[in-house]
Amino acid sequence: MKGKTNSDTLRKVLKVISSYHIFLILSIIFAAVSVILQLYIPLLFGDAIDNIIAEGKVDFAALGVVLSKILTLVVITSIATWIMNMLNNTITYRVVRDIRSRAIRQIQGVPLGFIDQHSVGDIVSRVIADADQLSDGLLLGFNQLFSGIIMIIVTLIFMFSKSVAITLFVVIMTPVSFIVAKFIAQRSFSMFKLQSETRGEQTALIDEMIGNAKVVKAFGYEDDSSERFNEINLRLQKYSQNAVFYSSLVNPSTRFVNSVIYAIVTLAGAFSILGGSLTVGGLSVLLNYANQYMKPFNDISAVITELQNALACAARLFELIEKERENDGNAELDEAAGEVDIENVSFSYVKEKKLIEDFSLKIKPGTRVAIVGPTGCGKTTMINLLMRFYDVDKGDIKVDEESIYEVSRHSLRRNYGMVLQDTWIKNGTVRDNINVGKPDATDEEIIKAAKEAHSWEFIKRLPKKLDTVLNEDSLSQGQKQLLCITRVMLCLPPMLILDEATSSIDTRTELLIQEAFDKMMKGRTSFIVAHRLSTIRNADIILVMKDGHIIEQGNHEELMAKNGFYTNLYNSQFARVS
């Protein structure tokens, strides 16, 4: 099962790389050239040494030929290696670029539900870290795997050409070094596991105590937290020390095994020379190969781990990239008058948990609809459906008698102006953040909108006014909300959605904005979600929601007269407590 998904992922990965298949083939060819020559050159050095026999017995002519041959091949090898490296770089970086660019299109195109279900950090790490890991691991992995295999084969061929017996001995001894490495790796693995567990525990404590340093200080908890940190830190010291020590044994131990093999090869070589079946140059070559013969094996085992990692990353990426995009309506919705018809709508995020059921409402143009209810009752769900962030399960929503599922999302959304509780500020200037809905707005228009939204008061105090560059942290929550309101003030579409738009703004400023809102909402169909009931008293229709259901509806007076849930809610906010 797991193998199948792995090969499935691998197939998809190959497809992504396939647009660079020429680069890939060239890279493999150059890799082969480079590896073979790198192994062949020591052989030639052996030949060269064989021409240096003793005093007065040096064959300079033959030596010159061999050495110039070496020089030519060295130059060729260097060039081949360089080209191969460049090709690999190109493939790696372009594949990452392609994957990322597909990912961003996907982020803009998948149903919102997918994004809501995943944390931002999770998706970001897929697009950034996983993509890097995939390209690095996979492409370099393929390459090393390929050159490693060529290297082993070629090494063996060259060694056999010098001495069959000695080479056979080296081959037979190969597993010894592996077994030693594996034995140590197993011991150190459990230490690494303990180390990473303890490290995780420590990071969690750091996150809590340093992340909330202010609370820690307010309670004078520094000594306690230092003590807790110390306890974990000492445990970590023990595990880390063991992990570092044990893992560092792999290298010297395998090297020792290799040294012993090396010594035996020397012995066998020396006897072979005496027996006349080997030359001194040949021995020198054998020794050199015996020394480097183990390296590709170690590389390959590292590469396999790397490849597995890369495939795991690829699987996570493909989950994002292959997610089905939203389908879109063909017709275009013109500037709407603002009549909204909600017809027998049912909707739920999770099938088992019914939320909105068979809900109908006819809203005439210019109506002010307020949605109220306790936190988490599903107020925002209505907004999600109206904006078509989510699709209804059953029923239909019509704007100006046209189903929103028949028209394009863009044309629908252009008819709405939206201010949400979760403000969003992009990295850019204040101007960039305001003229989102109307990129060609003049400064006069922007300033006028800012004045109406009462954001001008703080914008004018910023160092560069409209040209001040903002990021998520440069404004207070209230200021961000004012900025978001300004955005909508500037473009004023025919319908408005205000989802807790003033929740972080103090009541006095809110009152001022309210006037602007009133002006803005005049003649526009508007939907207002709020927990402050004072903001929604003037609405034409108030929908009272609880646990996803609309339990009461009517205007303020009607609902108060009912003496039901709304009345309770209202009184709990405005009750006179003495």
Binding site: A54, N85, N89, I104, I206, V244, L249, L274, W424
Partner: protein, 584 residues
């Protein structure tokens, strides 16, 4: 950086022995080619089998000695580097905790977390590598050269020339690449940032139909990153082929020189093999050295970042013992207090004057950014007033010994933060030895009794990190209870009832007032209903105190207060009242 050296204290022996044993290992490694040369020149030439056999055993013995030295060295290196990192981590953690709010604001907590985790880990890796290889690699490189000189002076000159040339090439490429890598990294950061922005702003982007613009923006940054990467890649791709080329050219020259020397009878064939082997050994070590320089560079950069944090001094000093002269009055007094945040242009609060008597409730109201939280933060001395004095019991808060001020004050911060652990453990933050009874009492006052009773395990209910398994309102009530457990003399509620409904808020205030130990309470709020019954209300606007008095006094005297009040109680507005009466 140099300051960090002192954290190696206690590991001096290990720190010195590790590289020494590593050198010993290298020394044994260096002997091997000599032995091989002996076998060829003496053993094979004379056909002496016994001689060959003894030399081969010598090789194995050398390998075994090398292994033993290596293991010893690794052990000491691990002990020293891990011990160093452990100590450094503890010191840094404690140091960060000793910093005042001002430094925490300037540095930002996320940086501090990175320094404590990955930076220190990198430092540990760097040190470990340095201990193991920093002496060994140069030793082998120069050792090979020295050995070569003992074999033949003329041939060895090739080594003397090729080492510096290789060094210049390798180091040059690294030097060119490092700043370029940094540039590539910052471009990657830009792509990351944009991805995050696209996700957090997905609703707004879609609502304003900005998908295509965002994609274009992303593509531009993505392409810039790719170009940079390819550029750096093409330079660093030179490293391997170039070193390979140089090394082999050096080897060709070496063999040619060797051949001449053999022909003259200065050396023998075996010596050429030995020279060739030393060259090979040296090359391997040079490659290691290059990688080592990169790792150590990283480690040093990280160590510098950690060191920079340790250099930050807390801007707040504490007296060893509290000043004498406490009048025990319980009075909290602001005497012409102004405060400016570090790096800010304007005062956050200016010239605040007031007095809170023991047992009084003080309401603080004003718009966002008017300085409400700043004002109460000065009482618990989270920040030091820039001008004027804040005093409690007649003593300047700056003259209290560390910890004593905190004893007196219970703070409920704006952000309801709870910690991983049971409810009981969280409640004991203020008072380590609080009994269950005391905890329940505090919970009851904080209107949190029902919350806890509703949880499985009651006080043993385990709160997840960040309080994720509780609702906002529940968290807020528990943080209030946490502050009450120690029965503080002064309680500060910094907009801490915002997630509570009005009825619970009222019940909470009533319960606190009824605690009966003359607790002085400061309530920061945007809601008039939360503070209108206070003994004294302070109205702030842009950091200035523009009104002070009881609710009814302020309704008379303060225009701003009236506006705030009516914005929340519109039906109380005189003109509305009239219409209502008229309708009735």
């Amino acid at each position: 950086m140099k300051k960090l050296v002192k954290y190696l204290k206690g590991y001096e022996k290990e720190t010195i022995l590790a590289p020494l044993f590593k050198m010993l290992e290298a020394f044994f490694d260096l002997l091997v080619p000599l032995v091989v040369a002996d076998i060829i020149d003496v053993g094979i030439t004379s056909g002496n089998m016994q001689y060959i056999l003894i030399r081969v055993f010598l090789m194995i013995a050398l390998a075994a000695l090398g292994l033993a030295s290596s293991i010893t060295a690794q052990f000491y290196a691990a002990k020293s580097s891990v011990g160093f990192a452990t100590k450094l981590r503890q010191v840094t953690f404690d140091h960060i905790q000793s910093l005042s709010y001002t430094e925490i604001d300037t540095l930002g907590t996320s940086t501090l977390v990175t320094r404590l985790t990955s930076d220190i880990n990198q430092t540990q890796n760097g040190l470990n590598m340095a201990l193991r290889l920093l002496l060994r690699s140069p030793f082998i490189v120069f050792g090979s050269m020295v050995m070569a000189f003992t074999i033949d002076f003329k041939s060895a000159l090739v080594f003397a020339v090729s080492i510096p040339v290789l060094g210049v090439v390798v180091y040059g490429i690294i030097l060119i690449c490092i700043p370029l890598y940094k540039k590539a990294q910052s471009r990657l950061d830009a792509v990351t940032e944009l991805t995050r922005e696209n996700l957090t702003g997905v609703r707004v982007i879609r609502a304003f139909c900005k998908e295509e613009d965002e994609i274009a923006d992303f593509d531009e940054k993505n392409t810039a990153l790719t170009k940079m990467n390819e550029f750096v890649g093409s330079i660093s791709a030179l490293m391997n082929p170039l070193t390979f080329l140089l090394i082999n050219i050096a080897t060709i020259i070496l063999i040619k020189t060797g051949a001449l020397q053999v022909n003259l009878g200065a050396i023998q064939q075996g010596d050429v093999v030995a020279l060739y082997n030393y060259m090979a050994q040296m090359i391997i070590e040079l490659v290691k050295l290059a990688n080592l320089i990169v790792t150590i560079n990283k480690g040093v950069a990280c160590a510098e970042r950690v060191s920079a944090i340790l250099d930050v001094k807390s801007s707040m000093e504490y007296k060893n013992a509290s000043a004498a002269g406490s009048d025990g009055s319980g009075v909290v007094r602001f005497d012409n207090v102004s405060f400016k945040y570090a790096g800010a242009g304007e005062n956050a609060i200016s010239s605040i004057d007031f007095e809170a008597l023991k047992g009084q409730t003080i309401g603080i109201i004003g718009g966002t950014g008017s300085g409400k939280s700043t004002l109460v933060n000065l009482i618990s001395r989270f920040y030091d007033a820039t001008e004027g004095t804040v005093s409690i019991d007649g003593i300047d808060v700056k003259d209290y010994a560390k910890g004593e001020l905190i004893e007196k004050i219970g703070v409920v911060p704006q952000k309801a933060v709870l910690f991983k652990g049971t409810i009981r453990e969280n409640m004991r933050w203020g008072k380590e030895d609080a009994t269950d009874e005391e905890i329940w009492q505090a919970l009851e006052t904080a209107q949190a009794k029902e919350v806890v009773l509703g949880k499985s395990g009651k006080l043993d209910f385990v709160i997840e990190q960040g309080g994720k398994n509780l609702s906002g309102g529940q968290r807020q009530r528990l943080t209030i209870a946490r502050a009450l457990v120690k029965r503080p003399e002064i309680l500060i509620l910094d907009d801490s009832a915002s997630a509570l409904d009005f009825a619970t808020d009222a019940a909470l205030r009533k319960a606190i007032a009824g605690m009966g130990n003359g607790i002085t309470t400061f309530i920061v709020s945007q809601r008039t209903s939360s503070i209108m019954h206070s003994d004294n209300i302070i109205v702030l606007e842009d950091g200035e105190m523009i009104g002070k008095g009881t609710h009814s006094e302020l309704m008379e005297s303060s225009q701003t207060y009236r506006e705030i009040y009516y914005s929340q109680f519109p039906e109380e507005r005189p003109e509305n009242k009239k219409t209502e009466e008229a309708m009735a």
